[in-house]
Amino acid sequence: MNRSRRRNCNAVNAASLARWIVMTAFLAVAGLSYVYLTLQLYHLGEHRKAIENELVTLRAQNDIASGQITALTSRSALQRRLKEGYLTMIPISEANIVRLTIPARSTDEDAIQPVANPSTTR
């Protein structure tokens, strides 16, 4: 009795089963990973596109701001505002001008030459 039961019973090959389970699990994980990573790729692509658009917008805003600054500080604009009275110009007095161009001098003068006006005149 025991001998025949043992003979008719199919033994489970645990090692083989484990190998199949691992392989199947690996394939499943690989497939899911592939799907996940592909979705991530699309998602990051969308994100990249959004950042690129944002960058373009920021650049455009920067260019517009630079253009406005240039227009407002251009010589023509400043002169117009000067005429309108929004700006005034105060002439620089001679005493406040520091001349870096040293005037020609005779050879008998001292070697050391002042390059700035004395502080008392400032």
């Binding site: 790729l41 699309y42 990051l44 692509g45 969308e46 990249r48 596109k49 373009v56 650049r59 455009a60 805003q61 260019d63 517009i64 630079s66 253009g67 240039t70 227009a71 251009s74 010589r75 023509s76 604009a77 002169q79 001349r99 161009t101 005037p103």
Partner: protein, 605 residues
């Protein structure tokens, strides 16, 4: 197996082999030989080449002040097949973009699929329109990124800077001549769209980044340009000439420091400008230079050692019959030295100086001074001027050309000729472009001064320069051109206007003054030209009385701007009030009879 069965098997195998060979060859043909063609056809279905536009380079002055730059704008377009509610779209878009709704309706119902509704729409306006379209669920209107060229200084330096067309190609001024550097190179990217028209970023293909245009730095100093523009405006207001030109140039390097013409136009409103306003008369307009051209005759005679500065020339007491035609001086002169011929601007003296060197040699000197050929400045449309070869000269040409008749020169050529005297005899190529840099400041090209040739010896240049100092003195023709504190050298010119139908126009003159400052070590050469100036009295319409004072004011302000050291000894020699009209008028009245004679011959100093 019997032989018949074997034969059938072989036959079947052969048929199969042939069949699969045909399939294989077809496969190889499609996959290998026709790969590119079919791959291209497949790509056309989904892959698009997206152009990434390069930004046009800026134009800056010598001190890096911006003269031309870009700001982003948008072009509003419509796809007529995508419009879902035409009436609502017309109503909304025409209101937001301030367009007549009838005009917009005509555009959208024109039958074309791609319709440009409006260009150069500010980003803020485009954003507002986009949001309203979305809120009202209106479809079919799209926005394309673009850029527009902005000129912050409006009309200042308009002829030099020039402008661009709709496609951002320069069509005038530096915008045109430096197009190659300013334009940049567009990039591209191959992209794929999904069914909704959105880009599938992971499928991006080959990509090339755009190269933005280079920055062009001009030699123009906007501070000096501002001085010149103010003075030319004042001259236009005072004398209402038909045309006017002022040029400032550094004689040692050929750098153009300022250049202004009238009439002018606003670069930001260029579509409203008339063609006459757009001409850069400094390089494309031709004039008879008048007496300023006498420097060429004197330089030729002195350089050839035919005369010395103190050589005495008989000036025929103001009337000389040569070749059967009378040549007049504006006053009666008997004997004048070469120096005095320039100081007093004797036509007869200048003619005799040219005769000493002869037709051919004189012609050679004229050419050596750069007349009759383009100067080579980086501005489009420059003309050669008009100089006939000696074989085409009449018998009296040798006496007329020295006083600036029978020859056409551009204001720039005259400035360059005066610069040749100022820098010691070298003909220098005028330049308006200082350097070309990348947007991040790396220098691509830096243009250095180009000496074309030694025209006259330094000694001759000095001798001519000495004589030209006398012109701006009490005994000369341009006392009003003097600048307090500085020694000036210069020459006046007054030429009757050439009538396009032949002969000269009565009572119309081109007055000019070309000079440099300081005379010893010139920092700049200046030229003032007024075409058909209107003075309170006709006898006041002289180069020395009209152009001279303008030069004086420009030179004085420029000297202050450049911080030139005044010459102490003559600090108060000639007061500024000298430039007022009253004093020259008295001078003219005293000499009126002699000048009337000169007028008949269209030759005044």
């Amino acid at each position: 197996m019997n032989p018949n069965s074997r034969g059938r098997c072989v036959l079947v195998c052969v048929v199969l082999i042939i069949l699969f060979s045909i399939f294989s060859f077809r496969l190889i043909y499609l996959q290998a030989i026709k790969h590119d063609e079919y791959a291209g056809l497949a790509a056309k279905k989904n892959v698009y080449q997206q152009i990434i536009h390069a930004e046009r380079g800026s134009i800056l002055d010598a001190n890096n002040e911006v003269l031309a730059h870009n700001i982003p704008v948008e072009t509003v377009v419509a796809d007529a097949t995508h419009l879902n509610d035409v009436d609502a779209i017309i109503e909304l878009v025409s209101r937001e973009l301030r367009l007549p709704s009838e005009q917009l309706g005509e555009k959208l119902n024109s039958g074309r699929r791609y319709v440009v509704i409006k260009r150069e729409v500010p980003a803020a306006t485009a954003r507002a329109l986009r949001e309203k379209l979305r809120a009202n669920n209106l479809r079919g209107i799209y926005f394309e990124d673009d850029a527009t060229r902005i000129y912050p200084n409006g009309s200042m330096l308009c002829h030099v800077i020039g402008f661009t067309d709709f496609d951002h190609h320069g069509i005038q001024g530096v915008e045109a001549s430096m197009e190659e550097y300013l334009h940049g190179q567009d990039g591209y990217r191959f992209i794929e769209h999904n069914r909704a028209g959105k880009e599938i970023v992971p499928y991006r293909g080959q990509e090339r980044a755009p190269r933005d245009g280079y920055q062009v730095h001009l030699t123009i100093d906007l501070g000096l340009q501002n001085i010149v523009e103010n003075e030319i405006d004042a001259a236009m207001h005072q004398y209402s000439p038909q045309k006017a030109t002022i040029i400032l140039m550094r004689p040692q390097t050929g750098e153009i420091m300022a250049m202004a013409n009238r009439p002018n136009f606003d670069l930001n409103l260029r579509s409203e400008a008339k063609p006459e306003q757009m001409k850069n008369r400094a390089v494309i307009d031709m004039m008879e230079p008048g007496s300023t051209f006498k420097i060429v005759a004197a330089a030729a005679a002195l350089n050839e050692r035919k005369v010395r500065p103190d050589s005495s020339i008989f000036c025929e007491n103001g009337l000389w019959n040569f070749g059967g035609t009378a040549l007049h001086d504006h006053r009666t002169f008997s004997y004048l030295s070469v120096r005095e011929i320039l100081v007093k601007s004797s036509n007869i003296g200048a003619a005799k100086l040219a005769l000493t060197v002869g037709d051919q040699k004189f012609y050679e000197y004229i050419r050596r001074f750069g007349f009759g050929e383009r100067t080579g400045i980086e501005l489009p449309g420059e003309i050669n001027g008009l100089l006939r070869p000696p074989r085409s000269w009449s018998k009296i040409s040798i006496t007329r050309i020295p006083m600036g008749h029978e020859i056409g020169v551009t204001p720039l050529q005259m400035t360059v000729a005066m610069a040749t005297i100022a820098n010691g005899g070298n003909l220098i190529m005028p330049r308006i472009v200082k350097s070309i840099t990348t947007p991040d400041g790396k220098t691509i090209s830096s243009l250095s001064p180009t000496v074309l040739r030694q025209v006259i010896s330094p000694e001759t240049a000095r001798e001519i320069g000495d004589a030209l100092r006398g012109v701006v003195s009490d005994s000369g023709t341009a006392a009003a051109a003097a600048v307090p504190g500085f020694v000036i050298a210069g020459k006046t010119g007054t030429a009757q206007k050439v009538d396009p139908h032949g002969g000269y126009e009565h009572g119309k003159y081109v007055v000019s003054f070309a000079g440099y400052l300081p005379a010893d070590h010139p920092e700049f050469v200046g030229l003032v030209v007024l075409d058909d100036a209107h003075t309170s009295k006709p006898e006041l319409n002289y180069g020395g009385l009209v152009a001279g004072p303008i030069f004086s004011r420009v030179a004085e302000r420029a000297a202050r701007y450049l911080d030139l050291e005044p010459h102490e000894e003559i600090r108060k020699a000639i007061p500024v009030q000298r430039v007022e009209k009253s004093t020259p008028a008295e001078r003219v009245r005293r000499t009126a009879p002699a000048e009337r004679i000169a007028l008949t011959n269209a030759s005044r100093n």
